[in-house]
């Protein structure tokens, strides 16, 4: 593993050299990318923070070194032959084309090496597959294109929430050379609400999907498991170090596959408990909100936020969509027709299309807000509104 260059090392090196050379260095830096780009030359897998991830890492290193050793011998003989037996140096070809002993040896030796590799691999695999005796279960559901985390505990209000990409579109949309915002440090690897788990506790993940296949990958846990619609996969982790860890969806899942990161925050037990209590209180508050009265302006304002997070990827910021795949909402018959029709589409989705059923994903307030927003934006002027209570009743009726 080579040491990775950090911006700091570069800057201190920069300051250390005399003024005369600064210019040259500056040019070199520009040639090889801005200092931010130089920041990382990571070459290897991370060791991670679990027993399993460290053992996986050491399997990985062992097999690399075995390959290097074989490579040295094989490439060594090859390079030697290419130099020693050149026709231009007057080499005369030998006549042999068979040697049973050699052939038996080089069939047998790889076999032994393979068995030597298979044993530790089997051991680690069995450990990875042991998901028994977890202290808590979290259901992870993949959606196009966000993750939903649901804490399966029977006490108090249920804690269920979505974890969305937090990097704003201005940072990644650079079409036609447009740069409207500087890319942040955790560009594309940041979310609005991370998954939170306690340190040193065995946590079991139950993975599934609401639409296509996704894969939940957290390199620092050495966990990559497919989230498959209609199936429930399992994985377990005992995270040994508090901190923030980042991964991504690893299975092609449609247009925004590259934009559904995973962030896990590992907290000390006390911090975790406090976080969980706060989450439960917030869930209670959302439930209470449903019975609260809102006026249209309030709903439109809240609806815009919901729209940006949940609908914009397909229907676009200006409501024009990307026809024919994703229809425009501006001027659409549904958003400008009877409100029941729109409630139906948003709550239940359209089967067999990318339009998902948001009734199970969003709170009644959010749904009422986004529908009201859509009916009164992008040039749509319906002047009416949906109420959280109306949405709640429809959700219950189903």
């Amino acid at each position: 593993m080579l040491p990775s260059l950090s911006v700091n090392t570069i800057t201190s090196f920069f300051n250390a050299v005399s003024r005369r050379y600064r210019r040259i260095l500056l040019v070199l830096t520009l040639v090889f990318g801005s200092p931010a780009l130089l920041a990382d030359w990571a070459l290897n897998m991370r060791e991670g923070i679990t027993e399993v991830s460290r053992e996986t890492y050491s399997l990985h290193m062992t097999i690399i070194w075995i390959c290097v050793a074989i490579g040295v011998v094989v490439y060594g003989v090859l390079v030697y032959s290419l130099f020693a037996y050149r026709k231009s140096k007057g080499a005369v070809p030998a006549k042999f084309n068979h040697n049973t002993t050699a052939e038996i040896i080089w069939t047998f030796i790889p076999f032994v090496i393979l068995i030597a590799m298979a044993i530790p691999s089997t051991r680690v695999l069995m450990k990875i597959y042991d998901t028994e005796d977890a202290v808590m279960d979290i259901q992870i559901t993949g959606y196009q294109w966000r993750w939903q985390y649901k804490y399966l505990s029977d006490k108090g209000a249920p804690v269920v929430y979505f974890s969305n990409l937090a990097t704003p579109a201005e940072q990644y949309e650079n079409f036609a050379g447009k740069v409207s915002a500087e890319k942040g440090e955790n560009y594309l690897l940041e979310v609005d609400q991370p998954l939170v788990i306690p340190v040193n506790k065995k946590v079991r993940f139950l993975l599934t999907s609401a639409d296509v296949i996704h894969a939940w990958w957290m390199p620092d846990f050495a966990i990559k498991k497919d989230a498959i619609p209609g199936f429930m996969n399992q994985a377990a982790v005992i995270a040994e170090k508090p901190g923030i860890y980042r991964g991504q969806c690893a299975e092609l899942c449609g247009r925004m596959h590259g934009f559904m990161p995973i962030v896990v925050e590992v907290k000390e037990q006390a911090d975790y408990d406090a976080w969980f209590a706060a989450k439960q209180a917030a869930a209670q508050a959302v439930a209470d909100m449903t019975s609260k009265e809102f006026n249209r302006e309030q709903l439109v304002e809240m609806g815009q936020t919901v729209y940006t997070t949940y609908c914009m990827a397909c229907h676009q910021a200006n409501g024009q969509g990307l026809p024919p795949t994703f229809p425009a909402l501006a001027g659409s018959k549904v958003a400008n027709g009877p409100i029941e029709g729109q409630l139906d589409v948003v709550l239940h989705g359209r089967k067999g299309t990318a339009m998902a059923a948001f009734g199970t994903q969003l709170s009644p307030v959010d749904i009422a807000a986004v529908i009201t927003y859509e009916r009164n934006s992008f040039g749509n002027k319906m002047g009416d509104m949906a109420t959280p209570l109306q949405v709640y009743q429809l959700q219950q009726a189903k």
Partner: protein
Amino acid sequence: MATGHDDHHHGPAKGFTRWLYTTNHKDIGSMYLWFSFAMFLLGGSFALVIRAELFQPGLQFVDPNFFNQMTTMHGLVMVFGAVMPAFVGLANWMVPLMIGAPDMALPRMNNWSFWILPFAFAMMSSTLFMDGGGPNFGWTFYAPLSTTFAPKSVTFFIFAVHMMGASSIMGSINIIATIQNLRAPGMTYMKMPLFVWTWLITAYLLIAVMPVLAGVVTMMLFDIHFGTSFFSAAGGGDPVLFQHVFWFFGHPEVYIMILPAFGVVSEIIPTFSRKRLFGYDSMVYATSSIAFLSFIVWAHHMFTTGMPLAGELFFMYSTMLIAVPTGVKVFNWITTMFKGSISFETPMLFSIAFVVLFTMGGFTGLMLAIAPADFQYQDTYFVVAHFHYVLVPGAVFSIMAAAYYWLPKWTGNMYDESLGKLHFWLSFVGINVLFFPQHFLGLAGMPRRVPDYALQFANFNMISSIGAFLFGFSQLLFLFIVIKTVKGGKKATTQVWEGAEGLEWTVPSPAPYHTFSTPPPIK
């Protein structure tokens, strides 16, 4: 590449109908080769769109949905349009010449199996211009992304795959019939050149798995249009079933793309080492074992789907086993060069690079076989680097080696050796700059099939893209060299290469339109 030698009363017809109606194995071979080169440029230009978008973080050029169409079409065009037809073209030209047969056994079917292809690919490429765009679900087209969530054009994609499958099956039936029935008297199986052997085995693999591919796309068709739920859990089906069926085809498919390459380098290395191939018998046995193993390793592509532990272990062990026969082959090639008398003409350079870089791909393949480690590699750029190392400096380099090796026999002219070497070195440097850094990207955590990435992946992506453009544009030089050779050049002798052995080197250069009308004597 084809030659218009009128030395019999029935030489080739004139004009376009010659190509449309031809049943001549040399004409058809040439058409396959030109077609595959055209597809290579098309698939390559898709790859350059991908690498241009990935040159820097951020979305600069294409919408993510179009990006997905590019990754999908790049894979499909390269696998089914470039690599497979190129090998069928080589088989058409060389198998009859190598076994002393007058033509392929089923010449009319030969014509048909070629002419299906341009239509299949025209149809598949046209989806890019349809409402909703072309296939955007990866060349592995996993359900339900490729069924419930697919663009409308998926039906055309399915039909195109059916056509390609029909073409491949007919091509392989023809190759099997030719090899088994038309060998010159005295050419026993164990006297056949290795290229013929590897193609015979490949053809059986093709017959075994192309129907499976046809089956899986037909099931998709039914799910999409006729209300079945093979792959939809909501209707009692199983999305993982799709992957099992696909990879039961898909894994042998990767050997279909590499076994003929083994055959090619097993011809070329002895010629330029001026020494017989080491371990001919074990080469045949190793090829057969690889073919057998290729049927029982498919689920190593699916380690993360949540298979039971026992399944996981079985597929891990069987996959590791493949290293044994593959190792035998590499050792044999190197021992062939050992104590030879080596010269470095362009075909030899490509073949040596094949041995070196294919072995690299073999090493990463071994790493990927280790299931627990695979959890970290799966669906990252590490896998992308692995399979490009076996497919580009593997399959593609062997095809280029074959083209340079047999071009004098096809055209009667020697190619320009210094241009050939230049092409080799540009390709060699380009390919390594392109794919080597992708190992690092994958290990550091970059998933494949993403149009944008986190900032820590920026450096190696930029380097990789530079390599891609270098490699891509170098291939225009190849086109230039081939055209130049077809047009003229130093006249080739019958033997062409000092160390060459085999029946194809006993007919004049260029090979006459009809050869071996009477079978040659076999020593």
